[in-house]
């Protein structure tokens, strides 16, 4: 692993890792709260968000795109909650109504506007462009300490790293309220915790992770990382802290293995070219989840034969 690896693989792998961690962390709590699909909904509405941002600003610069996506995620969350409460509709259906309608609006706007000259399309939003986030200025591991080369890092890397670190810090800071409100909402309210604010904060964090990640890695990875690593982790242990640790491990493993297999797998099989890294990362996370479903020590429901043993 020499200069070529640093140039073409190091940065995409790192970006993939940070994106996976940023999504998997809030995913742990979303799964425990039976809100796993909110990540799915948010990733769908990113598209209308970036289209609107493009129509308003006329550029595909990162800043407006991120703002547009974040705005759309916020609108979606508010709409889902409104539809659920005012229409007395179960959360799954409310989510389904809102995100599909917004997504349809996004596709329509995209077709209506002239975006042929810029790189803005549905497939990009779905698949990202992980493979293109290479570090051309690097000429070996030494570049890691070379300020000139470092300045030419793809901007997605520091952005994703910062978001991942912020989400890690938030998870540690709000560990107790998150745990308590996820486990026993009634008790949490009774001792005066702002349960609704915490719930909104969690969803907002998930939205931030999704928005920061989609541009680099695409919506597929985002959805997969929200759900698969935490779900697999849940089947490994009966302790929340261990579950979160496992989920990070699984997220990192999916990102690394997925990228490597997508890039080198076809060559090993004797074929030319490579396959979608985003798709492969999602697929690997699925394989990990499958293995956890089959062999995870805490895979069974309580009282079910396959249940984990007492620690």
């Amino acid at each position: 692993m020499g200069a070529e690896f640093v140039q073409f693989s190091l940065t995409p792998i790192l970006i993939g890792i940070f994106a996976a961690i940023a999504c998997a962390l809030p995913g742990n709590f979303l799964i425990l709260r039976r809100q796993a699909l909110i990540g799915d909904a948010i990733s769908h509405v990113v598209l209308p968000g970036i289209v609107v941002a493009f129509l308003v600003t006329g550029t595909t610069a990162t800043g407006p795109m991120l703002l547009g996506a974040a705005g759309a995620a916020l609108v979606a969350v508010v709409l889902i909650e409104t539809v659920r409460r005012l229409g007395k509709i179960e959360p799954g259906a409310a989510m389904g109504v809102v995100f599909t309608a917004l997504f349809a609006g996004g596709v329509l706007l995209l077709e209506q506007s002239d975006t042929s000259s810029v790189h803005l399309d549905v497939e990009h939003a779905l698949m990202g462009n992980l493979e293109q986030l290479i570090w051309l200025r690097a000429d070996g591991w030494g570049s890691l300490v070379d300020p000139v080369a470092l300045a030419a890092l793809p901007p997605e890397l520091p952005r994703m790293a910062i978001v991942a670190v912020i989400i890690m810090v938030l998870t540690v800071l709000f560990w107790r309220p998150l745990k308590l409100t996820s486990f026993d909402e009634g008790f949490a309210r009774a001792i005066g915790l702002p349960v609704n604010v915490i719930a909104l904060g969690l969803v907002a964090t998930a939205a931030a992770a999704a928005v920061a990640a989609f541009d680099a890695v695409g919506s597929i990875i985002v959805i997969a990382m929200f759900i698969c690593p935490p779900a697999a982790a849940r089947l490994m242990t009966n302790r929340l802290s261990m579950q979160v640790a496992w989920s990070i491990a699984f997220a990192v493993l999916s990102a690394v293995l997925g990228y490597v297999l997508a890039g080198y797998g076809p060559i090993w099989l004797g074929a030319a070219g490579s396959v979608s890294a985003a798709g492969m990362v999602a697929a690997i996370s699925g394989v990990i989840l499958l293995l956890a479903c089959l062999f995870g020590p805490a895979r069974g429901r309580v009282g079910v034969a396959a249940g984990g043993e007492a620690p």
Partner: protein, 264 residues
């Protein structure tokens, strides 16, 4: 009727009562679950809230704690707004209200009761862990401290919930069906702990469904079926007429006779 004005701005709720409500109406949709309910629970007593299924017993506790919105009425805990005295209340929700599959251990659940004192960010020192363990010991669950909560029996889960309430060191304990679905040993253990709390001067209000144990366990009772049917010392209130009005045809006459004879 004399010409008295009904506009009254004085505080009519007893400030000495650990939990007093007035005109409390709560509804789910268009159907009231509690209608214009008044209640004043005495300090330092074991009080029961009794009534048939769907009579609004749990709703009463939740509305008193502000967990669900109320259509009208006021609530005071120790003479103050409930939001200002939350640190003096320990609430034990219905066991079925949480996901016991949650990845956490018994001792962790008890530590949740200490969050109010530890704060949300400070490290949990050994001193707090020892206190949580002592609470588990007090309900006879010391040896299960590190067990995942889903692997406990129903009675053991209920004891863990009680231990969490103990850890809060509150002055008012609100319990929602603490004896539902628990074994006899657990019921005994819980009632012993509650009685010792009462001996310490704490007040207890529990939603209770087993009429036969009301006179044994409690001093004060509120019979409720959507509205308050009767409230007062068990001796005075737990009468055949009041029970019959509370339960309607759901209790046979002989059943009621045995109950109130025990109570007399």
């Amino acid at each position: 009727m004399a010409e008295i004005s009904l506009v009254d701005t004085r505080n009519a709720l007893d400030p000495a009562s650990p939990l007093a409500v007035r005109g409390l109406t709560v509804s789910y949709g268009e159907k009231p679950a509690l209608f214009s309910l008044d209640a004043t629970f005495p300090a330092g007593a074991m009080s029961a809230i009794v009534g048939p299924n769907g009579a609004g017993k749990s709703t009463f506790l939740k509305a008193a704690l502000g967990l669900i919105p109320r259509v009208s009425g006021e609530v005071q805990v120790f003479g103050r707004d409930v939001d200002r005295v939350r640190d003096r209340i320990a609430y034990v929700p219905q066991r079925a209200s949480v996901d016991w599959d949650f990845p956490t251990t018994a001792i962790d659940v008890v530590l949740m009761g200490l969050y109010g004192q530890i704060g949300l960010w400070r490290r949990i020192s050994g001193q707090y862990k020892a206190r949580a363990r002592a609470c588990l010991d007090r309900v006879g669950m010391g040896e299960f401290a590190d067990r995942q909560i889903g692997q406990l029996s129903g009675g053991q889960q209920q004891r863990v919930f009680l231990a969490r309430a103990l850890a809060q060191e509150a002055d008012l304990f609100l319990l929602d069906e603490p004896f539902a679905g628990v074994d006899a040993a657990t019921e005994r253990a819980i009632i012993d702990v509650l009685k010792s709390l009462q001996a310490d001067g704490r007040s207890i209000v529990a939603v209770h469904h087993d009429l036969s144990t009301v006179p044994d366990y409690f001093d004060h009772v509120m019979l409720v079926n959507l509205r308050r049917i009767a409230e007062g010392p068990v001796r005075q209130v737990f009468t055949a007429a009041a029970l019959s009005e509370t339960y309607g045809g759901r209790l046979g006459a002989t059943q009621i006779d045995t109950l109130t004879l025990q109570g007399a």
